[in-house]
């Protein structure tokens, strides 16, 4: 069985998504974009163009480029909306039976057939992306669509080769995207400010079913109106300064539009945006530049009446649903324009609460449709809801630091292994101290249990290999095993309640970790520096014995003195002091080490043998493993 994809078949743009391992993901189209213009065209050679490509040739082929077909689907020719479109649309709308058709080239197509062309591209792009056949879909429609419009949308799917498993309302999809179906009883307002239209819907949720209580809106209010206000303002300012009207200059207009878009985005987070468009145009006197500072206050003034127009449809919808603004439990924002701070402010002032955040408002409807598809497919089931581990799990390592094996927020079940070693020569046993928490030092984390693995064969420090495995099952039961790879001996512990934490406990642990992050980091760095120093001392102490025939007595003395000096700093708690001590010890020993290698290389050369390549390995071990030693 293939995937059921969720499709937001929009008036100006469409988006589509699917479920992967229980999570929705938006699919990029063949051009790499996450939204696809709902535009279809036939060019002179009879090729069918859909999406971005159709959009780009629109002005050259206005009669054969169909956009906004969603306004026509499932309608009768005599409908008021259709009659209005007859004048506005540059393409030809004709009567077909009681319904409508549009002319593309010399053929007539029903709106279902045109929508099917968009759906076919979506289907093909989804198949290319997923690498498998797509035959089923959930498609969204506006809440105010009647039976005929819904049926026509379903037919469009069928023509495109998609079995439409369900048609769902756009506001319902948005609510699904926020997981609201799991709540008991709620009243939800969906506030959808798109490119060209504004829709508001009041939903009521009961027993996991959404009911649309009322809808309202303004079919001629959207993002384009806001952008136009800014561009017009720029035009006015430029005209005042230079006496040039840029309206007919397409290149300049495009740059102003891009700049307006940027200004709108930037003014969401700053108070002032500097427009800087050098060489915007030129006249007989030479090039003209446009420099201007747009403040957030000015932007808000420019769009104030548009913002104010948002309130009326909301109030009407509330009245039709027989509710007051205070009765609404959740507010959801849909459409790119709802990113604008003054729009959010308006929503807040109407409902007296913050709208939900987190899902991209351009994609929220497609995401909800995909979730509905997942439910139909059986992907979304309670038994398979995956949990995450709320806090990190790890063990205590040399110097009392926590080495994490499983990071917090890892999806469970999961397992992780890491190899550790001993901290002293001939160390017969290691203690595995299992810890939970986000702090760097073991003492600050919660101890979950401890056990000892003994019987380690005598060996220099750092040589034995102790493999520690954390196995966390779906119920949060943690099994920790330590195995000596040399002897095969192993020990383990099972901790029943590693995940059994209250929300407060988890938050407390995370807050504490954040609050102490800086201080913990310092402590950890000091421990690491001390481990490095101790290692350096250990290696240096071994040298006179190991190379007793190759090192002169003078050099031996240098080494012993340097080691003595380094030992004085061993118990320091300051990272810099520890590092400095390690450095001076290494500096003292390095020339002697270099001499040794040189001697060895010469011996090797004489023997015509190349064994010196093994040399540096020992040195590498010192730094890398220092913090991991038990």
């Amino acid at each position: 069985m293939g995937k059921i994809i969720g499709i937001d078949l929009g008036t100006t743009n469409s988006a589509f998504a699917y479920m992967v391992a229980g999570k929705p993901e938006v699919i990029a189209n063949a051009e790499g974009n996450r939204t696809t213009p709902s535009v279809v065209a036939i060019n002179k050679s009879g090729d069918r163009l859909v999406g971005q490509v159709a959009q780009r040739q629109r002005v050259t082929n206005a009669k054969n480029t169909i956009y906004g077909v969603k306004r026509l689907i499932g309608r009768k020719f005599s409908d008021k909306e259709v009659q209005k479109d007859l004048d506005i649309m540059p393409y030809e709308i004709v009567k077909k039976g009681t319904g409508v058709a549009v002319k593309l080239g010399d053929k007539e197509y029903t709106p279902e057939e045109v929508s099917a062309m968009i759906l076919s591209k979506i289907k093909a792009d989804a198949e290319a992306y997923l690498g498998e056949k797509v035959t089923e879909a959930v498609i969204t429609v506006p809440a105010y669509f009647d039976d005929s419009q819904r049926q026509a949308t379903k037919d469009a799917g069928k023509i495109a080769g998609l079995e439409v498993r369900r048609i769902i309302n756009e506001p319902t999809a948005a609510a699904l995207a926020y997981g609201l179906e799991n709540k008991k009883e709620e009243k939800i307002a969906v506030f959808d400010l798109g490119g060209g239209t504004f829709d508001v819907s009041i939903l009521e949720l009961g027993d996991g079913v959404f009911e649309v209580r009322s809808t309202n809106g303004d079919t001629h209010l959207g993002g384009e109106d806001f952008d136009n206000r800014i561009v017009n303002h720029f035009l006015e300012v430029f005209k005042k300064e230079n006496g040039i009207d840029l309206k007919g200059d397409n290149a300049a207009m495009q740059r102003l539009k891009d700049e307006a878009e940027k200004a709108k985005k930037e003014l969401s987070s700053t108070n002032e945006y500097e427009v800087n468009l050098p060489f915007l145009t030129a006249d007989a006197d030479g090039p003209k530049h446009f420099e201007y500072k747009l403040t957030r206050a000015k932007l808000e003034e420019l769009v104030k009446d548009l913002i104010d127009r948002l309130a009326d449809p909301v109030n009407k919808a509330l009245k039709d649903a027989d509710l007051k603004a205070g009765d609404i439990d959740e507010v959801i924002l849909v459409g790119g324009m709802t990113r604008m701070p003054s729009v959010v402010e308006k929503v807040k002032s109407i409902f007296g609460k913050d709208p939900l955040k987190g899902v991209n408002p351009d994609e929220v409807v497609a995401v909800g449709a995909a979730i509905q598809g997942g439910v139909l497919q059986g992907d979304v089931k309670d038994v398979l809801l995956l949990d995450v581990t709320p806090l990190s799990l790890g063990i205590e390592t040399m110097g009392g630091v926590t080495t994490k094996l499983i990071e917090r927020n890892t999806t469970i079940p999961t397992s992780k292994s890491e190899t550790f070693s001993t901290a002293a020569d001939n160390q017969p046993q290691v203690e595995i101290h299992v810890l939970q928490g986000e702090r760097e030092m073991s003492a600050d984390n919660k101890s979950l249990g401890r056990f000892i693995l003994d019987g380690i064969a005598p060996a220099p420090r750092g040589i034995p290999q102790i493999e520690v495995t954390f196995n966390l099952d779906a119920n949060g039961i943690l099994n920790v095993t330590a195995k000596d790879k040399g002897t095969g001996k192993e020990q383990s512990i099972t901790i029943q309640n590693s995940g059994n934490l209250s929300k407060e406990d988890i938050e407390k642990a995370q807050k504490e970790a954040e609050a102490h992050a800086e201080e913990d980091k310092k402590k950890r760095e000091a421990v690491e520096a001390r481990n490095t120093l101790e290692n350096a001392i250990y290696q240096a102490e071994k040298m006179p014995e190991e190379f007793k025939d190759k090192i002169s007595d003078d050099d031996k003395k240098v080494i012993t003195d340097a080691v003595e000096e380094a030992k004085k700093h061993k118990d320091a708690s300051d990272k810099d002091e520890l590092e400095a001590a390690a450095k001076s010890l290494n500096d003292a020993i390095m020339p002697i080490g270099a001499k040794l290698y040189q001697q060895e290389a010469e011996t090797a050369k004489e023997a015509g043998d190349d064994q010196s390549a093994d040399g540096p390995v020992e040195g590498e071990v010192v730094d890398d493993d220092a913090s991991k030693k038990k």
Binding site: Q57, T60, P278
Partner: protein, 161 residues
């Protein structure tokens, strides 16, 4: 433990658990398959992420290239032989080379080139001329390709020929 009729009593739970196993196995298979496919796609995306990063950086730089192009084409004719102006023109050439070295290519949108909506975006159409072919009348903003992919279409005025 009581010894009651084992057959009858155990039959039901056995069937139920069999069904549960079948369901869970199917779910597991699907999740595994999902994961495998996701992993493969992530691998692919990883390799194209460098490319996308390139493109994202290029897009931010394009307005600057545009301005330099404009500045040069707007240079007053009496200044064109001025050494300083020549230097700035040299700078533009340097920039072109640098762009090519990061695989950023200009889209050909010179006058007379056949209009192709895959790479050209028409913002104006001059329908006075007669003819069957649509060609570029004027380039309004240079477009760019990165490794063959459109980073930004060329903005053009189109006419018939």
């Amino acid at each position: 433990m009581t010894k009651s009729k084992p057959v009858k009593n155990n039959n039901q739970p056995c069937c139920e658990s069999k069904q549960a196993v079948a369901e869970l196995t199917a779910d597991l298979q699907r999740t595994r398959a999902d994961f495998e496919n996701y992993r493969k796609r992530t691998e692919l995306e990883k390799s194209s992420a460098r490319q996308s990063g390139h493109e994202a950086a290029a897009i931010e730089m394009l307005p600057i290239f545009d301005t330099i192009e404009r500045a040069i084409s707007a240079a007053p004719s009496e200044l064109r032989t001025n050494e300083w102006v020549k230097g700035i023109m040299g700078l533009a050439k340097q920039l072109d080379k640098a762009m090519e070295s990061i695989n950023l290519k200009k889209i050909d949108s010179s006058t007379g080139v056949k209009f192709n909506p895959e790479i050209h975006e028409a913002v104006q159409f001059d329908d006075e001329a007669e003819g069957d072919e649509e060609v570029i009348a004027e380039s309004l903003r240079t477009g760019y390709l990165s490794n063959g992919r459109v980073v930004r279409p060329a903005m053009v005025k189109v006419m018939r020929k």
